[in-house]
């Protein structure tokens, strides 16, 4: 094992130059244009506030980062890393690879300022990082098409089904979706479960406390089938990625899309004007259940093997300030977690902010709330269900078997 680690360390040292004294090494995976620029803004701001610290930023490819982080955390840890909150950070916390930063939270009174993300940053009653940005999920729809067809944005399940029927009758497919990468199915499952059974049940399910064969889970799939069986999702969704479904939305062939707010940029790039796009909260299904939402949170953490923890704490403290979060999220087009940050003028962010501010609770997204292995098995099952809705019992039995193994 030690020789294995040494080999990894050697390989890592060859690819990424390591720190000198007084230098802060930040590893992250922000290669897309907007996140990259936001990161540059953050580092510039930090340098202005702490001119004595030099920041060395290693930017990784998004997919490669997910395996690289395991190597560099054990072999040669940087001082600050980007990662995800919720269950996604649990393996690193349990393996003792992340530093407990509860002191930072206490010192800067972050429990109030970062209130909405407290739950997702906590494991065993301690805080393991600083969240800086999140974004809402919901149904984006074509305002112009809805007007033309005389559809009002649905508020509950019956209205949603009625809207789908109308759209289908007009020769369109109601919902755009691309499930090749699996995760878009997670959004659907999250919302259906949150609306059918509520936040507490959803959290119990993703924490492995409820069997997938529970009748309440079956009820979620019965609602889902009401959309799958009449063909309310794009045909061949399993062959395409979420971006490939955007043209269908832009061309008006599929006027609704359950997605995260990042999809708006792609829709506008595709040639839509902002006033052609509307945003609506996922409609109510079981009446009286408080509305919880999906809002994946992005965060930074300090590895326990960091060499420059003092400056790393300064960096995280700066990241938590309302000013830093305002600037970063302006560039990102997302919502700052710090509730004292300046509000955005973007209509979608405003709508998202209002929805999340009144949300009963926030879920992180299926593949962050559930452990990675369960998420993979689960989303594969969801994809299969969306192709073959009649196999629901076999799928749920398989997921239950996976649950039995994964949550020991």
């Amino acid at each position: 094992m030690n020789s294995f680690k040494a080999a990894l360390a050697l390989g890592y040292a060859l690819t990424v130059s390591t720190a000198f004294a007084g230098e802060l090494v930040v590893n992250s995976d922000q290669t897309d244009p907007a996140p990259k620029k936001a990161m540059e803004t953050l580092i510039e701001g930090f340098k202005a506030a702490h001119p004595d610290v030099t920041v060395k930023w290693n930017n990784f490819d998004h997919e490669g980062y997910k395996s690289a982080i395991r190597n560099f955390l054990t072999a040669d840890a940087p001082d600050v890393v980007s990662w995800y909150s919720g269950n996604r950070m649990a393996p690193f916390v349990k393996a003792g690879l992340f530093e407990d930063v509860s002191d930072l939270w206490a010192e800067n009174k972050l429990d109030d300022q970062l209130k909405s993300a407290v739950k997702s940053m906590e494991i065993d009653g301690k805080k393991w990082g600083i969240p800086y940005s999140y974004y809402q999920w919901g149904i984006y729809y074509r305002k112009d098409i809805f007007e033309k067809e005389g559809i009002t944005p649905p508020k509950n399940w019956a209205e949603l089904i009625a809207a789908c029927e109308k759209i289908k009758a007009a020769g369109m497919t109601p919902f755009a979706i691309g499930t090749k990468a699996l995760w878009p199915t997670g959004g659907w499952f999250d919302y259906l479960d949150l609306r059918v059974n509520g936040y507490e049940f959803h959290m119990d399910l993703t924490a492995g406390k409820v069997p997938y064969t529970d009748p309440k889970v079956k009820a979620v799939f019965e609602k889902w089938a009401e959309l799958v069986k009449p063909g309310y999702f794009l045909e061949n969704h399993a062959a395409i990625d979420w971006q490939d479904a955007i043209p269908q939305f832009v061309q008006g062939k599929a006027p609704m899309y359950l997605m995260g707010n990042f999809a708006v940029a792609a829709m506008v790039d595709g040639g839509l004007k902002a006033d052609q796009i509307g945003f609506l909260q996922f409609p109510e299904i079981t009446a009286g259940i408080p509305m919880a939402e999906d809002a994946p949170t992005e965060s930074f953490h300090i590895p326990s093997g960091a060499k420059n923890k003092e400056d790393a704490r300064k960096f995280l403290a700066y990241l938590a300030t309302p000013e830093a979060q305002t600037k970063m999220n302006e560039v990102l087009g997302q919502l700052p977690v710090n509730n004292q940050s300046a509000k955005s003028n973007d209509p979608f962010l405003k709508a998202g902010f209002e929805m999340l501010a009144n949300a009963y609770a926030l879920a992180q997204f299926y593949d962050r709330d559930a452990p990675a292995e369960m998420a993979k098995a689960g989303m594969e099952g969801f994809q299969q269900f969306m192709v073959k809705p009649d196999n629901v019992d076999a799928i749920l039995a398989r997921l239950e078997k996976a649950r039995g193994r994964i949550y020991k």
């Binding site: 090749k180 061949n236 062959a239 990675a372 993979k376 594969e380 099952g381």
Partner: protein, 302 residues
């Protein structure tokens, strides 16, 4: 001092004949054991543990293998591997056909040969991407053709019935080119006198091919089958590029499943991945043993 030097030099001289071959073999043997032999045993060893690659290992004996026996995804992968093995071998006769077709003296034949060889030069990743677009629903060439003929829109890579066949077809494209080049070099070495003699005896067409040409292509056929079988068993890149194992895991093969379990974003079950690798290794061992036995027998006969 003066007495020890001759003593060592004489002991070196006495054993020189015995030691020299080992000295020459040593670099190769050390590399081979570090990169091949030791990892094989390490892999088998890890397959008895429950290990996430970060924390402590827990000894669980045969539990990984017991779980494999009851794992639907494992059987899907195994079934697909067998499908790969059988269909991928089509590259051998197809390569032979192309080679026979191209083995003539026409102006510009070198150009045609290199054009036919071209797919093998392209990276597998690019082959995968090209075929993904070729199959893509709505705008892909093949799905447009299918739609024109049958009126149905079939997304090959999203349909569990066709997905593996679609990927194998993509894999065959470069593999046929590879077999072709093996046969073309084989055809160059054919004894023209034998062919002429056979012609004089009235052999032509199939009987000439079957009785005179093919026996002389034996070594080429052997190599073609070996590389194709190995290629089929280690198929990974195309699956990863074209479908990522989907839809819902129906195009997985063993090597991809191992990667998914041990190394991918959603996995990190090193022990379970190692167990899959061991099973794949056993399957490969069957073929490797057959090849080695055959080679040894030929060497003895020669």
């Amino acid at each position: 001092m003066s007495s020890t030097v001759p003593a060592t030099s004489s002991s070196w001289k006495r054993n020189q004949q015995r030691l020299a071959p080992w000295l020459f073999l040593a670099p190769g043997m050390i590399m081979f054991s570090i990169y091949v032999i030791i990892p094989i045993f390490q892999s088998i060893w890890i397959s008895f543990y429950d290990w996430d690659g970060l924390g402590a290992k827990t000894w669980i004996g045969m539990a990984n293998y017991v779980e494999l026996l009851d794992d639907e995804a494992f059987y899907t992968s195994l079934k697909n591997n067998i499908l790969w093995l059988v269909l991928y071998l089509l590259a051998v006769p197809a390569g032979l056909a192309v080679a026979l077709f191209l083995n003539q003296t026409v102006t510009g034949i070198r150009l045609y040969k290199s054009l036919f060889f071209f797919p093998f030069v392209i990276s597998q990743v690019v082959v995968g991407l090209i075929f993904t677009w070729f199959y893509a629903p709505d705008f892909g060439l093949l799905s447009a053709l299918i739609k024109a003929v049958s009126g149905e829109n079939i997304a090959i890579l999203a349909d569990e019935r066709y997905v593996t066949l679609g990927i194998i077809a993509a894999g065959l494209w470069p593999q046929i080119a590879y077999c072709m080049i093996l046969y073309l070099t084989g055809l160059n070495n054919i004894n023209p006198e034998q062919v002429e003699a056979a012609r004089m005896d009235g052999a032509k067409g199939w009987s000439l091919l079957w009785n005179i040409i093919l026996p002389q292509l034996g070594p080429a056929t052997f190599i073609a089958i070996v590389v194709t079988v190995i290629g089929a068993l280690r198929s990974f890149d195309l699956v990863s590029i074209m479908t990522d194992g989907g839809p819902y895991g129906s195009s997985r093969v063993l090597s991809f499943y191992m990667y998914e379990q041990a190394l991918s974003e959603y996995g990190y079950r090193m022990g379970y991945g190692a167990a899959i690798a061991v099973v794949l290794f056993m399957i490969m061992m069957v073929f490797i043993t057959l090849f080695i036995v055959r080679m040894l027998m030929q060497e003895r006969n020669a």
